[in-house]
Symmetry: C2
Subunit: 182 residues, 2 copies
């Protein structure tokens, strides 16, 4: 099973403000770019399961929108997941190490996971279980916040696949993760 | 006087390993890209003074190369600067806050400073004294190191000017710094 990241960061590498705030994202106010323009819709069409951490899940619930269509969503948590009636039946809790999660999803027949949320992305990267990264750089420096990347046991080399500029402002680059170098 | 940053970072935002190491930079071994291919030569041609912190200076001396041609280089340091005979006469020590440094350089008639080094870049950004950023993203995650960006008193909005891909691997983006938003 493959796993991919598709995420926006500030130019200084944050995916959210310290309190999780996303007000600095273009489109946070309903304006452009649309999920079609950012490639999010095309990316989602290639994915058959979404995996996210508990922190990100709580933020998704708080925000009230729904970004995952009818795709199965697995929330990595050791706590019980209270699912409000408004939450789609496609959502379920799950736990384990990244390797255990990938193995379990593969056994269920999933082929391409969308891994979301800072801590979860970092854990999967550390475990060498992300194959592709699509990063969209927003032209702002926040100075502090929740970082996309974290510690790694060793360098992770990437292969640049393509870069495009969205709306004359955002720079979106796609990378394949190459084998980690010792 | 204007001030610009022209620097390469890992995809996770580091300008050097924890010990200052730059072995992960393409070209560290003398191979491509050349300073002409990265736009460094063209950038340097627009600059009339180089400003760097003491830590970066010590690293430059240690590396033994010389990257600044005959441009005046000012090293920000409160300690004395021992200049070996091999160091060009264009190098001088200087101290003060970023605002004091910019004012002093302007009085000397300089018009465009190349600000280099992590701490110095961060201090100038915090003071709102950088007008342009050219960042080249190297396709590697280091996991730890000396970060390019640091804390800021407030968001710094940027205007994307252009992005180009170098050698099918490095993504170079140029930004104007817009007025800081409160």
């Amino acid at each position: 099973m493959r796993a991919s990241v598709f995420i926006a960061t500030s130019l200084d590498g944050f995916i959210a403000r310290p309190d999780g705030g996303l007000d600095w994202l273009p489109g946070a106010d309903g304006s452009s770019p649309t999920p079609s323009e950012t490639g999010y819709d095309a990316f989602m069409a290639t994915v058959d399961v979404v995996v996210m951490g508990r922190g990100t899940w709580d933020k998704v619930v708080e925000m009230g929108g729904w970004f995952y269509g009818d795709k199965p969503v697995r929330v990595l948590t050791s706590r019980s997941l209270e699912l409000r009636p408004s939450v789609p039946k496609t959502v379920a809790a799950m736990s384990g190490t990244p390797a255990e999660v990938v193995a379990a999803l593969a056994r269920e027949g999933f082929r391409h996971a969308y891994v979301d949320g800072g801590k979860t992305i970092q854990a999967f990267l550390r475990a060498g279980l992300i194959q592709r990264l699509t990063l969209t750089r927003i032209p702002v420096l926040l100075g502090e916040g929740i970082p996309l990347f974290g510690n790694l046991p060793r360098d992770v080399k990437l292969k640049h696949l393509l870069t495009r500029v969205l709306g004359d402002a955002m720079v979106q680059s796609e990378y394949d993760v190459l084998a980690a170098s010792a």
